[in-house]
């Protein structure tokens, strides 16, 4: 059921991409996202982490209605966009916007900054007078820390960090209720990355915008998120409040992930315990039976190879999809 403060509710979402198996091959499908459920409240930031091929970007695109899910339902603000007309679905795009990974590639090279930032206004408020539109573009550019003379310039005249500010301005101008940040700071240098993360955090707080913050960078996700969801091979492994997930990770995959991230402190690095994973990521064309993680899990038992674990709730809003979480030694901190 949908509670009133759920801005977004995703239930049992799956996305398959058909792959042709050659002339005689049987039809196969990449199972990019499998049976994912979560909610996002107004103003909340949900971090989505996982390694390449875990389906995090596909999940973001499905939520944005840029690709059609194979199964599952998505509620937005209490109603189901998929049940409405295409025109209504398009109009929803002023309420949920997106920031992409590559700041330069996601801007049209032949359009001025002013025209790109103002484009959502042209689309959704075509009756807006020209000077009012100019005023709003200038205001949003100022809010993201760009000077007003950026309006007449082109994307290639700006650095990556500044282009990402333009991207944020474009995502903000229609006063959205949710922004999907798809690896929004991954292409940026550390010093600029910190500026952009701080800006996104401020904006989310001030304007009450919910963020679906998709990233492979666990440290950045921790910095900005209220809750965090860990994906592996298209499935949710663990979802919990930020401090609960980072302070007391329960799933073996989350622990391995956290222990693999190098910490910028030589003393900590020398004395760290690491949870090593076995082997490589299995093909999403042919994911393992049972728990998808069992082929690489150091704790896997027979049950893991046959039976798919449900997401079971711990105290609070901590959920973990592992048969063994009760038995596994509790480790309070990955560091």
């Amino acid at each position: 059921m949908t509670t009133p403060d759920d801005l977004l509710r995703v239930e049992g979402l799956s996305v398959d991409f058909p792959v042709s198996g050659g002339l005689w091959g049987r039809k196969r499908a990449v199972h990019a996202v499998r049976d994912v459920s979560f909610t996002l409240s107004a103003g909340e930031t949900l971090g989505v982490v996982g390694e390449s091929g875990c389906g995090k970007s596909t999940l973001g695109r499905a939520v944005l209605n840029l690709i059609r899910p194979t199964a599952g339902r998505i509620w937005w603000n209490g109603s189901e966009p998929a049940a409405e007309s295409l025109e209504r679905q398009r109009l929803l795009r002023r309420e949920m916007t997106v920031i992409f990974q590559d700041p330069l590639a996601s801007l049209d090279p032949r359009m001025t900054i002013g025209a790109q930032v103002g484009e959502p206004l042209d689309i959704f408020e075509p009756a807006l007078p020209e000077d009012e539109k100019r005023r709003r573009v200038a205001a949003v550019l100022e809010r993201v820390g760009l000077s007003a003379d950026a309006v007449g310039r082109y994307p290639h005249q700006f650095s990556g960090g500044q282009c990402q500010r333009v991207g944020i301005a474009r995502a903000l101008i229609s006063n959205p209720r949710m922004i999907v940040c798809d690896e929004a700071v991954s292409a940026l240098d550390v010093s600029i990355q910190a500026q952009i993360v701080a800006l996104l955090g401020d904006l989310s707080r001030e304007m009450g915008v919910a963020l679906l913050f998709i990233s492979h960078n666990l440290a950045v996700v921790r910095q900005i998120s209220d809750r965090v969801m860990v994906l592996y091979l298209g499935k949710v492994m663990e979802i919990a409040g930020r401090d609960s997930l980072y302070g007391a990770p329960r799933h073996p995959y989350t622990r391995a992930l956290l222990s693999a991230v190098p910490v910028p402190d030589p003393d900590v690095e020398r004395n760290r315990r690491r949870f090593h994973l076995i082997g490589d990521l299995p093909s999403p064309l042919d994911p393992p039976k049972g728990c998808v993680f069992h082929t690489r899990c150091p704790h896997a038992v027979d049950r893991c190879r046959t039976e798919v674990p449900d997401l079971s709730g711990l105290e609070g809003r901590h959920h973990v999809a592992c048969h063994l979480w009760r038995e596994l030694e509790f480790s309070p901190s990955p560091a």
């Binding site: 010093s191 600029i192 990355q193 910190a194 701080a198 693999a260 910490v263 910028p264 402190d265 690095e269």
Partner: protein
């Protein structure tokens, strides 16, 4: 290990390396007076953000620069001067005494050759081994990088391997001539963190066996994990250099301090207030007078905007290029 490298085992001695590129818009000084030396078994990390010259430093050592580049200074490798070395001799060094690992393993692998052919070619070409001997050695090289099912992998093509396995093959190729020096340019940036951890372990093993490593990376965590010493670069110059522990625990250059303060960390429980470095990255064609970091530096004053600070040795084996860094550590 954390003092100056022992003189008798010096493998690489770079002094006042300066690399300029002649571009239509003017001369760009990508590497400006970089000096360091490296002993056998030692790992030096070069960190900095895009455009700081860290990769160009590596390519200058390797002699792999485009034709519009002009290199000055000195690069001594096992007692031999590399600058001005004829291309033929440089080629003989590369692949045997000097090896390179790139960010993208596919740039180092030929997509049309099996793993066996790629590995054996080096051996047959440089060492004149027979085919059977080369194959045996290639197999051994794959075992040394902990490749699962090495016999099977020999028959496969690069596109059949995962990113992590490809990078293992590249490291196996690099190490097959038992090089004295391994130059690694962002070797784990394209990999997932769990795979990155394995590749970093692998590099640490190479270093334990006596190979000197220069590791170029933007990731301070990787440096902390792997490197004995670190050089922090900004706008083509080394701004701080020293033992990793000293630099990470008591950074003296405001840029190093800023980087460490800006980086979100997993081990820091009060992670909320990371402090970004304000301002934009430097434009190498229009560097400010004086210290290149001064427009972004909270400490910048008159002298910083007029005179470029020299990289001066301080105590604890560190060197800092800042008018505000005193001799004892910390910024006055």
């Amino acid at each position: 290990m954390e003092a100056e490298p022992r003189q008798d085992r010096i493998v690489l001695n770079v002094s006042n390396l300066t690399t300029r590129f002649l571009t239509p818009r003017g001369t760009v000084t990508a590497v400006d007076g970089v000096s360091f030396s490296l002993a056998a078994g030692e790992t030096l990390g070069i960190v900095g953000e895009s455009g700081c010259g860290k990769s160009q430093t590596l390519f200058s050592i390797m002699g792999l620069l485009p034709s519009n580049a002009r290199v000055g200074g000195s690069i001594g490798f096992e007692g031999q001067e590399l600058i001005g070395l004829p291309p033929g001799e440089m080629n003989r060094l590369r692949g045997i005494r000097l090896a390179l690992v790139f960010q993208d393993p596919m740039t180092a692998l030929n997509p049309y050759l099996t793993v066996e052919r790629q590995l054996c070619e080096v051996l047959e070409y440089h060492k004149g081994l027979s085919r059977a001997d080369a194959r045996a050695e290639a197999l051994e090289a794959l075992r040394r990088v902990h490749m699962p099912e090495p016999e099977r992998q020999l028959r496969r093509y690069p596109h059949e391997l995962s990113g992590g396995m490809r990078q293992r093959v590249v490291i196996a190729m690099a190490m097959i001539g038992k090089p004295a020096l391994l130059l690694a340019d962002e070797p784990t940036t394209a990999l997932d963190v769990t795979i990155q951890a394995e590749i970093l372990d692998l590099l640490a093993e190479q270093s334990d066996s006596g190979t000197a490593i220069v590791l170029v990376t933007h990731d301070l965590g990787v440096v902390a994990r792997l490197c004995d010493r670190v050089a922090v670069m900004y706008a083509g110059r080394v701004v701080e250099q020293g033992p990793t522990r000293a630099v990470f625990h008591a950074p003296r250059h405001p840029y190093t301090q800023g980087l460490l303060a800006a980086l979100p960390r997993l081990d820091d429980l009060a992670s909320a207030g990371r402090k970004p470095i304000e301002g934009q990255p430097p434009d190498l064609l229009a560097l400010p007078p004086g210290c290149a970091f001064s427009p972004r530096c909270p400490l910048a004053d008159g002298p910083c905007r007029e005179m470029s600070p020299e990289l001066l040795s301080r105590d604890g084996g560190c060197a800092v290029a800042c008018h505000h860094a005193d001799g004892r550590g910390g910024v006055s």
